[in-house]
Amino acid sequence: MNQTLTINISGIVFHIEVDAYEALKVYLSTIKSYFNNSEEREEIMLDIEARVAEIFAEAQNDKNQVIVMADVNKVIAIMGEPEQYLTDEEEEIPTQKTHRKREDKKLFRDPDDRVLGGVASGLGAYIGLDTVWVRLFFVAAFFMGFGILTYIILWIVMPEAKTTAEKLKMRGEPINIKNIGKAFESEAQKVGEKLQNVDTNKFSSKAGTVLENIVMAIASFFTAVFNIFGKVLGIAFLFVGTFMLVVLLALLFGSTAIFSISNDGVYSMASQDFFNLIFINQDQFYLASIAVFLLIGVPVIGLIFLSIRMLFKVRSHYSVGLTFVGLLVVGTILVFMVGTRLAVEMSAEEEFEKTEIISPDFNTYVIKTNITEMPGQGVLEDKFTSISIEGDMMYQRFVELSVERSKNDSMMITTNFSSHGKSPKDALNKAKAINYVHQLNDSILFFPDYLATNKEHKIRGQQVEITVYLPLYQSIYLDKSTKELIYDVDNFTNTYDKKMVGRKWVMLEQGLTCLDCNDIEGITSKELEELKALKMVETVIE
C-alpha cells in the first residue's frame, strides 16, 4: 500500500506516489536553480513542466493511473540532468575561476541565517566579514540613531537569495555543477525534513497517531513563537540595558545634574555635589560609586550580555557568569564598608530647643512662609525635599511647623534643632550650627521654609521643628504658602494639613477649630464671640 498525492502540472491533474513526488520536486528545483536569469527561468520551467506533463500523460493508461518512481526516472532520463544541458551557464565556469570570482559576488539577503531580514549575514558574506561583527555594527549604529534607517533601506534594496545559484553568488562561490550539487544536497535534505514533518503529518498514518501529530505541530508552533518572542525580548533588553548603563555612568561620574524619571515625569535631580555632601571624603564617594556601579551596573551589563546572546545565539564561556558573580560580591563588600562608615557618621542624634514668648496683642496672627526658590544651586530637587548650595552654605528644606495648645495663657513659639552625628557631641554641634530664624512683624509670623548650615557639616539629617503654642481663643490664619511647611497639625475636625491652609483657626477647649469653613465642620465668628462671652462670664463668676 502506498500513499499518493494529487498534483497539477501544466493544468493536468496526476496522482503521484509520495516518494515519486519528492524525487520530482527535487529534480525540478535542481533545474530551476541552474538558471540565473529569473525571467527566462520562469518560462523555461513552464516549458519543461509542460513536457513532464506530456511524458506522464503518455505513461498513463487504464492499468496505470498513478505516477510512480519509474515514471519520474523516465522523465529524468529523457530530460537529463542540468549538467548535460549545453547552455551558457556551463560555459562561464572556466572563465570565472580566479579574477571574476570577486566581481561575481552579489549582494543578497541570506534567508538561511537571519535575525530580522538576513541583511547582516548577506553583507557579511559580501565583504567577507563574520556576520557577528556586522550585527554588532548595526546594534551600535542603532544606538547612534542611523541604524534603523540604514537597515530598513538595505532590507528594501537587497534582494533575498532565493535560488541555490543566488546563494552561491552571495557567498562568492563559483557557480558550477559541483557547488550547486553541494548546496543543493543540503537544501534537499532540508526540504526532505520539512516534507517529513509536514507531509507525513498530513498524509501518512505511519508517522504516529493524529494526537501525536497535533502535539508536535503545537510544539513547533510554540518554538517558533518563543524564538520570535526571544528576539523581541532581546532587543528590549539591549535597549533598556544600554540606556540604564548610560544613565548610571552619568549619574555616578558625570558632573552635571541627572534627571530621574518617576510616574510624575522628570522630577528628581541630583549631582555629584549632592554625594559630596553625604560622604565624608572623596575616597568614600568613589568607593560608593564603584559599589553602586558594581551592584547596579553588573546586572545591567549582564542584561546587555544576555540580550546579545538571545539575539545572536552566541555561546558564552562559563567564566563570564563567574566574573559577574565575583563583581557582585565585591560590590556588596564595598557597600557594606561604606555603609558602616556612614552609619557610624549618623549614629548619634541630638537636639536642643529655643522658646520665644509672644504677647497675644492681636486677635489673629498670620503664619506665612516664603514661596520663592531656594537660594543658590540646587543639588537635589524633588517634590518633598530640596537641597541647594551657595558658596560655603548649604540649604535644606527640612523645616516642619505644628500648632498646639499652650499650657498657659501665653503664646509661645518653640524651635527645635536636631541633627545626627558620629557622637552626641558632634550631633549637638551640628544641631547648634543650624541657622534658622523666624520673624515677627506686627501680626505676621514669618517662618522660612529652609534651614542653613555650613557645607562642611554635610547632610546629617539636620532638621528644624517649630511648634506654635496658642492660648485659648487665640486665632491664627494659615497662609496658603504654608502648605508644605505645616506638618500633622492636630485639629478638632481632623482636617488634612493641605486643606487647613488659607483658613482661620481658633484654639478652643476641644482643639483647633476652623472659623471660616463652609465645607468642613467648624464654627462661625458669631458663635465664637458668644462662646467667648459665655466663658468670660463664667470666669468672672468664679
Binding site: 501544466s10 493536468i12 516549458d47 519543461i48 500523460a57 503518455e58 537529463g80 540532468e81 549545453l86 547552455t87
Partner: protein, 111 residues
C-alpha cells in the same frame, strides 16, 4: 583538454543553427524538434532544448503559437521570424565557410 568538453562545445555551436534550420522547414513543437536532433545525435537530453528555444525566442529569432493537444497540455509551436530567417542565412554562410575551412585543413597540404 577534455575530449567530452570539446565535443560538447562543437555540438553547442551547431545546435542553434540546426534548430533554426529545422524550423525553416516549417513550424514545429519541441518534441518534434528534439526527435530530429536526436536522430542526428546532436542532443542527448531534452532539457537542453527548452532554454535554447526560450533564448532564441527572446532574441526575436523565433515566435510561437499555442495549440491544444489531445494527449497532454497545450503545445508551443515555434516558427522562424523574419529576423530569424536573416540570422539563419548568415549562419548558413558561416557554416559553409567552416565546412570548407575544415575540409582544407584536413587535406594533406601540397608541397
Amino acid at each position: 583538454m577534455n575530449i567530452e568538453n570539446t565535443q560538447a562545445q562543437m555540438r553547442k555551436g551547431v545546435l542553434e543553427y540546426c534548430i533554426l534550420s529545422i524550423l525553416n522547414n516549417g513550424e514545429a513543437y519541441p518534441s518534434e524538434i528534439i526527435e530530429q536532433l536526436k536522430q542526428g545525435k546532436l542532443i542527448v537530453v531534452e532539457g537542453t532544448l527548452y532554454p535554447l528555444l526560450t533564448r532564441l525566442k527572446n532574441a526575436e529569432l523565433l515566435s510561437y503559437r499555442w495549440e491544444e493537444s489531445t494527449s497532454g497540455p497545450p503545445r508551443k509551436y515555434y516558427q522562424l521570424t523574419d529576423k530569424g530567417k536573416k540570422f539563419l542565412e548568415e549562419l548558413a554562410t558561416t557554416w559553409d565557410d567552416l565546412v570548407a575551412a575544415v575540409e582544407i585543413t584536413r587535406k594533406p597540404t601540397k608541397k
